[in-house]
């Protein structure tokens, strides 16, 4: 047996794959290495809600067996952290909520099943904002995640645990979900690469729903190349999800090496107006300069309805959530209040005690937006705006191949700084939300630092064209090393 390599946590997915194939290290050793890092570092960071070392090592042993048999599956033997929103058979899936603190699903989410088939070793379940509602990970029932770059700041949310875990090298890669920016914003704030695929690319089966028409799972990795490998495993039509697309799935690694000469990058003037702070604008422009140096052309575009995206989102997402979360009623699974006196009491106390404040706030807003007499003014109107926003993008993509801009308005903010002001918190997603409303693929890649905190560049692609943004990101990552910086030695 070789001694576990202390540098194992710095290897890329491709390097891990080849190391495992060439028997330089076993999946067991690799998994143990990451479990040790988690044991060592996660007490402070709080990236994981559940880690089942025994199960992880068992999966690693199975992977080693497959390796011994000559299996070359893409993720074979590679440890992956899964966001605790994906149902895992036999392992608690809490969705960051007291409501599901005792919930052990009898089934795997399709994403989990596909990863397992590809040989991935599930390290554990990562922390998240409760039911994915939040942009700072502070709404989790399991306490906030700390940003590994500065533990006094937030990692972003809702996939904050996954982002921080990848940034701190507690896992080579992780999954996230993105309803309004929940992959991209924490990726930006933690200095990693996060991709939200086109709506319908990745099956939502077994992914606990927040807002069904917006939710999409995706990879959270250190590089675009790693993201492409994970994406290959995650995508594809799923007969269990009627909204999953029948679109053809290319090998997303294929287009990575392509030159981006002649690539047309659209800059929406609405994303670069006076509201964007100068330091942030500078970082984005630096990144754009590097892309032009690689041969890309910059094109000014307009997304005239983008100012309406936050208000439209905060009608549609809570409306769907208010209905999606009705199933948490204490009847069949999950939390139930003590000694209910009658049905009404059981419903009221179960939901009052089981949900946190932000979840309750959104259920109330959503129920209001759908209620008789308000439906037309809120829900229907928001859907009309959604169509306009989508048309803006469709029009823009007639002129450009990629749209670029900031991922978030600023780098990570201090823990607690925005907790008392929901609207301020909602504006964290001002640049990411429109992409969900339109159903487009978007990603965030590390683009430098402001005051030692990472910032992200957002790249938005056309429908089902993840390849082009991955290609752009990969080429950028060939000439920059922001994505290789580590917060922890």
């Amino acid at each position: 047996m070789t001694k576990p390599n202390t540098e194992l946590h710095n290897l890329t997915i491709a390097e891990l794959h080849s190391g495992l194939q060439q028997k330089q290290f076993s999946s067991h050793e690799l998994t143990e290495h990451f479990l040790q890092r988690i044991a060592q570092l996660d007490t402070e960071l709080n990236c994981f809600i559940s880690v089942d070392a025994e199960r992880a090592l068992m999966l690693a042993d199975e992977a080693d067996q497959r390796l011994a048999n000559g299996d070359t599956a893409d993720l074979l033997g590679i440890p992956i952290a899964q966001k605790d929103i994906f149902c895992t058979r036999g392992m608690r899936t809490s969705c960051g909520s007291k409501m599901l603190d005792n919930f052990i699903p009898p089934y795997d989410a399709t994403v989990i099943a596909r990863m397992q088939q590809a040989g991935a070793v599930m390290l554990g379940k990562t922390n998240m904002d409760e039911f994915a509602m939040g942009s700072s990970n502070e709404t989790s029932y399991y306490g906030p995640v700390k940003n590994p770059w500065n533990t006094n700041t937030v990692p972003g949310g809702s996939s904050g645990g996954s982002a921080a875990a990848v940034a701190a090298r507690l896992a080579p890669a992780a999954t996230g979900t993105d309803t309004g920016g929940s992959i991209r914003q924490p990726a930006a704030l933690c200095g990693i690469t996060g991709l939200k695929p086109t709506y319908g690319r990745v099956s939502r089966y077994g992914m606990i729903a927040f807002a069904s028409s917006l939710d999409q799972g995706g990879p959270m990795t250190r590089s675009a190349a790693d993201a492409a490998v994970l994406l290959n495993t995650m995508v594809g039509h799923d007969p269990l999800d009627s909204t999953s697309a029948h679109a053809e799935c290319p090998d997303f690694t294929k287009q990575l090496p392509k030159s981006i000469k002649g690539l047309r990058i659209g800059l929406p003037k609405e994303y670069f107006d006076q509201r964007l702070n100068t330091a942030m604008a500078d970082k984005v422009h630096e990144a754009l300069q590097q892309l032009t140096a690689l041969g890309a052309e910059l094109v000014d575009i307009e997304l005239p309805n983008s100012a309406l995206s936050v208000p439209a989102y905060y009608v549609i997402a809570p409306a769907e959530a208010s209905s999606n979360l009705s199933r948490f009623d204490g009847v069949r699974y999950g939390y139930r209040c003590e000694n209910p006196t009658d049905l009404e009491d059981m419903y009221t106390r179960t939901r009052s005690e089981g949900f946190g404040d932000e979840v309750k706030r959104r259920i109330l807003v959503g129920a209001y937006a759908l209620s008789a007499g308000y439906y037309d003014a809120y829900y229907r109107k928001a859907q009309q705006i959604r169509r306009l926003i989508k048309e803006d993008f469709v029009k823009a993509f007639e002129k450009v191949d990629v749209i670029a801009g900031p991922t978030s308005p600023s780098p990570a903010f201090a823990l607690g700084a925005k907790q008392s002001d929901p609207v301020e918190m909602y504006l964290e997603d001002i640049y990411t939300i429109a992409v969900n409303l339109a159903g487009l693929p978007g990603m965030s890649i590390p683009a430098g630092f402001i005051d030692k905190m990472p910032v992200g560049l957002q790249l938005v692609g056309n429908y089902f064209d993840e390849s082009t943004i991955l290609n752009t990101a990969h080429q950028y990552q060939q000439v920059t090393d922001w994505h290789q910086r580590s917060p922890i030695d």
Binding site: F103, P105, L240, R327
Partner: protein
């Protein structure tokens, strides 16, 4: 004051699909609680619905049968409310774009008069589970086997004017869905249920009165009774100068009364919105054409054909076609015995009377169509009389055996030998001098009545086996001689 009753129905039909409307669970009735509920039916977190194509085909068939518009792009919506047997906290149903648009149901009476009941629309939706209050002291049991069973809800316009008409409409819907084979139509298992919207107004008025909705009526009898007591209640209220509250009511069959369940003010705000987990369902023209081509004969067509081909009255034909299995049974009997009228009388008379008494469906009849046809043939070929045939039929139902076997072993063959009958008649006449005298003294038009006595005596002596036609013919000869 004279009052007019105005009734509209909402009929729920459970579709006979193999699996549920949004999951792969079986829809079979009667399994142990919660054994036919998978993760989707239990609304486990993260699970998603997938629409059942067969349910759509069933709904479209119904739409085509009532000559309705088929919605080319229909949409599922969520109807949100909390109830323990509603696992998701919403029912997936259709509201703005139901699969079946406006259509018509024709009610044809015994004189071939047609009355149209307009159908507002019919939509697909999922059934809820069941709450079981009896078996658990101080608690409620939840059985989710039924949750997700596909339903079509058929909503009529307020076009019915009496409880009898409402029942006729419900029966016609029952007939259509069972003819189409899209539902088993078994009301004892809840496969068909209806809510009745009832209001009254002064005769001649053209504005609608305030209506009440009486929920969950699951038999022809209860629909009729519930509507009648509700109409009587409304008339009493209005004639006492009181007003009617718009509300949902429940029918108590034991007390034969309706009771308030909730008023309009207490009604839920269901917060309908399009279900984001299900894409709009687009129906291809070819699907509609294929379903149209697969359409079986419908009750109205069969009724017409029975009148034309078999010479049945509209009334008889109407009764026979009410239940597809009865109609098919009748047709098989008629073809076997070649006498449709006699076949109709036997099916609607002795057979159904026996089955009703024994609480059997026609599929469970101990005498099949062939055997009954054969029995009737023995009447036609004068082997036995109609009266003996009833006796034979009872044996067939009770002990089994064919008509011929029973006739043979019990010696029931009709006595048609005229010399033997003549000998019996001579004996009767010899023993009935006073009656013969009375007969011969009577006016010719009174004699018909008096001849019955002699017939009775002859039949008694022959133990019912004498051919009645022969008996009458020879008696007439002898008495009038």
């Amino acid at each position: 004051m004279q009052w007019e009753t105005v009734i509209g129905l909402e009929v729920h039909v459970q579709l006979a699909t193999q699996s549920k409307i949004f999951s792969g669970s079986s829809t079979a009735f009667g399994a142990a609680p919660n054994t036919q509920a998978n993760a989707v039916d239990m609304a486990m977190p993260g699970t998603l619905p997938v629409a059942n194509e067969q349910a759509f085909h069933s709904a479209i068939l119904f739409g085509l049968a009532i000559k309705a518009d088929i919605t080319r792009t229909s949409v599922f919506e969520r109807k949100n409310y909390f109830y323990p047997d509603l696992p998701k906290g919403y029912q997936t149903t259709q509201l703005e774009k139901p699969i079946v648009g406006a259509g018509t149901i024709e009610l044809i009476d015994g004189d071939n008069n047609i009355r149209n009941v307009r159908i507002h629309h019919a939509h697909l939706e999922e059934d809820a589970g069941k709450s079981l209050h009896e078996d658990f002291h101080g608690m409620t049991g939840i059985d989710l086997n039924r949750a997700g069973t596909p339903l079509i809800e058929i909503v009529t316009e307020p076009d019915m004017r009496s409880a009898a008409e409402a029942v006729a409409c419900f029966k016609k819907i029952h007939a259509i869905v069972t003819y189409l084979g899209i539902s088993d139509g078994d009301m004892s298992q809840g496969s068909l249920r209806c809510d009745a919207n009832v209001s009254i107004r002064p005769v001649g008025s053209d504005t609608l009165g305030t209506r009440t909705e009486t929920k969950n009526l699951n038999s022809f009898k209860f629909i009729e009774k519930a509507i009648n007591v509700e109409v009587a209640r409304q008339i009493d209220l209005l004639e006492d100068g009181k007003s009617i509250t718009q509300e949902t009511r429940l029918y108590d069959s034991e007390k034969n009364e309706t009771r308030s369940m909730r008023s309009k003010e207490e009604a839920n705000d269901y917060r309908y919105f399009p279900c984001p987990d299900l894409l709009p369902v687009v129906i291809a023209e070819e699907t509609i054409t294929a379903l149209q081509n697969s359409m079986p004969e419908l009750p109205d067509q069969k009724m017409l054909r029975f009148q034309n081909d078999y010479g049945l009255s509209a009334y008889d034909a109407g009764l026979l076609v009410e239940d597809r299995t009865v109609a098919e049974f009748f047709e098989a009997v008629a073809q076997q015995c070649q006498d449709p009228k006699l076949a109709a009388n036997w099916v609607m008379g002795d057979l159904l009377a026996y089955l009703n008494k024994a609480d059997l469906s026609i599929d469970q009849s101990p005498v099949d169509a062939r055997a009954l046809g054969h029995l009737i043939t023995r009447i036609i070929d004068q082997t036995i009389s109609g009266k003996i045939a009833k006796q034979v039929f009872e044996v067939m139902c009770g002990d089994g055996g064919t008509a011929d076997e029973i006739i043979e072993t019990q010696g029931l063959k009709q006595l048609s030998d005229s010399s033997a009958i003549e000998a019996l008649i001579d004996q009767v006449i010899a023993n009935s001098a006073p009656q013969v005298a009375q007969y011969r003294a009577a006016e010719p038009d009174k004699r018909k009545k008096l001849v019955g006595y002699f017939v009775g005596q002859v039949m008694k002596m022959s133990q019912g086996q004498a051919n009645p036609g022969e008996v009458n013919r020879i008696l007439a000869q002898k008495l009038n001689a």
